[in-house]
Amino acid sequence: MDKKRYELNVQLAQMLKGGVIMDVTNVEQAKIAEEAGAVAVMALERVPADIRRDGGVARMSDPAMIAQIKKAVTIPVMAKARIGHFVEAQILEALKIDYIDESEVLTPADEECHIDKTKFSIPFVCGARNLGEAARRIAEGAAMIRTKGEAGTGNVVEAVRHMRTMNREIRQLAGMPLEEVTGFAKANGIPYELALKVRELGRLPVVNFAAGGIATPADAALMMQLGCDGVFVGSGIFKSDNPALRARAIVKATAYYNNPAKVLKASMGLGSAMPGLEIAAIPEEQLLAKRGW
């Protein structure tokens, strides 16, 4: 990926700011998402809640299914590749979707290396729990970052933790004298040049969305008020009582996140949200956010 292509890829993510990206598993759901005002869809065979329930190895979705969704909508289409599985990424690039999510929701294919995203023309979004993780993914060529959260739980607590952690670390870095940056970068595994960049900007140099556990309009507005540039909703929509209504409500609450009267109105009469999962009730080895580093 040359510099020009990378900038174009970062800029597509900039155009998604303030928007909601929704997980969809078929053409019908993709159309509901587009109709509700999603800025992109994430095409996958099973939403994270089902992946969690089913267990086993979760892989890239059937490209035929992704192709059908791509044909059905005009908004950007994203799809997931396993962490480190650069051939799944090559397949998704050949399929000419718009964005690849190198995702911890799928079973990692490589426990040491993430994908070298600089080798691709297609953009990548990657999950992060903290500034170091975000910076390492950007250094590998990610054009967009999202919190990892804890996908498929309907529990926003981990996404909040990850965003607050990133914010706190960025504030520390921004307020730091130059001579302390080397040590901070070393301790947090942040490439030095990127540490300087983040210190100068007071934020990540790319768009940063919320993801993992967002289930209500209030969750979406919470993440936006914490400084996220937009929101991914995975299981939260199509595992709820009334997906079309909830999808529209989350779009409204994301756009007007700092207007409580409008978030209130969006929150009314949506039926039940997806059933949630307490993080402490999940066995340690089944936590998705721990995948990748």
């Binding site: 020009k4 800029q11 700011k17 928007g19 908004i75 140099p205 914490l226 779009v251 756009a255």
Partner: protein, 230 residues
């Protein structure tokens, strides 16, 4: 989001340009307007529209913008202010929102007589950069950024074509509306923003003070105006 706005009183001449802040590339436009010393602010609710000489509808996803415009009845406010004299500029998705005809879809605001086709080039892998000489805007070749861009297929009566490419129109204007299918706000080029500010009757910095391609711009300039974290 930072705002630079004079406290416009009702009886005063409209003096600011608003950037529709529902979804998309809002701070990128505000950054360019600030470079030209033009009073500007993000607009989101009807009260924000007071005293606007012009409104930019930014790039984003046109389906999302259309839903939000309709649900929150901002579409009516825009049409009302447009009738009052507010000028409009749509970039990319914004151009789709302003078009009278959208291929295969219902038009949204329909305030300029053009026919547009959404996402005409393909996927993100087909997004590209180009440059062109457009006499209406500058004597220099200007950088153009196309991201999953639409194409203007036809321009009707009262619409002047400003940039024609092989088989489509990339920029056009009527007396009160400007449309570009590319994104000047994603380059260092401020010529389009200067042109629009003048179309709105405002007095932006001239070429001597800020050249058409601002050398102080860089691809992360937008972050300066992005919402701050807590």
């Amino acid at each position: 989001m930072a705002t630079v706005v004079s406290k416009a009183k009702k009886h005063r001449q409209p003096s600011a340009i608003g950037v529709l802040n529902l979804q998309g590339g809002v701070c990128e436009h505000l950054d360019h307007l600030e470079r030209l010393g033009v009073a500007c602010r993000p607009v989101k609710i009807p009260a924000d529209f007071e005293g606007l000489a012009g409104l930019i509808i930014p790039g984003g996803e046109s389906t999302c913008l259309a839903r939000l415009l309709h649900i929150f009845e901002i579409d009516k406010v825009i049409v009302r202010e447009f009738r009052r004299g507010m000028k409009l500029w749509g970039t990319c998705a914004g151009a789709i929102v302003l078009a009278r005809v959208v291929v295969g879809e219902q038009p949204v605001l329909g305030l300029i007589d053009i026919e547009v086709e959404r996402n005409s080039f393909g996927s993100q892998l087909d997004s590209f950069r180009d440059d062109a000489r457009i006499p209406a805007f500058s004597s220099r070749p200007l950088p153009l950024t196309f991201i999953r861009a639409p194409q203007i297929k036809k321009a009707g009566k009262g619409v002047k074509v400003l940039l024609k490419k092989d088989n489509y129109i990339a920029a056009a204007e009527s007396r009160d509306v400007l449309v570009t299918v590319f994104h000047p706000e994603l380059t260092g080029c401020v010529a389009f923003h200067r042109y629009f500010a003048r179309k709105c009757g405002l007095d932006p910095y001239d070429e001597k003070k800020v050249p058409d391609i601002d050398p102080t711009w860089n691809p992360v300039s937008w972050t300066r105006l992005a919402p701050v974290s807590r």
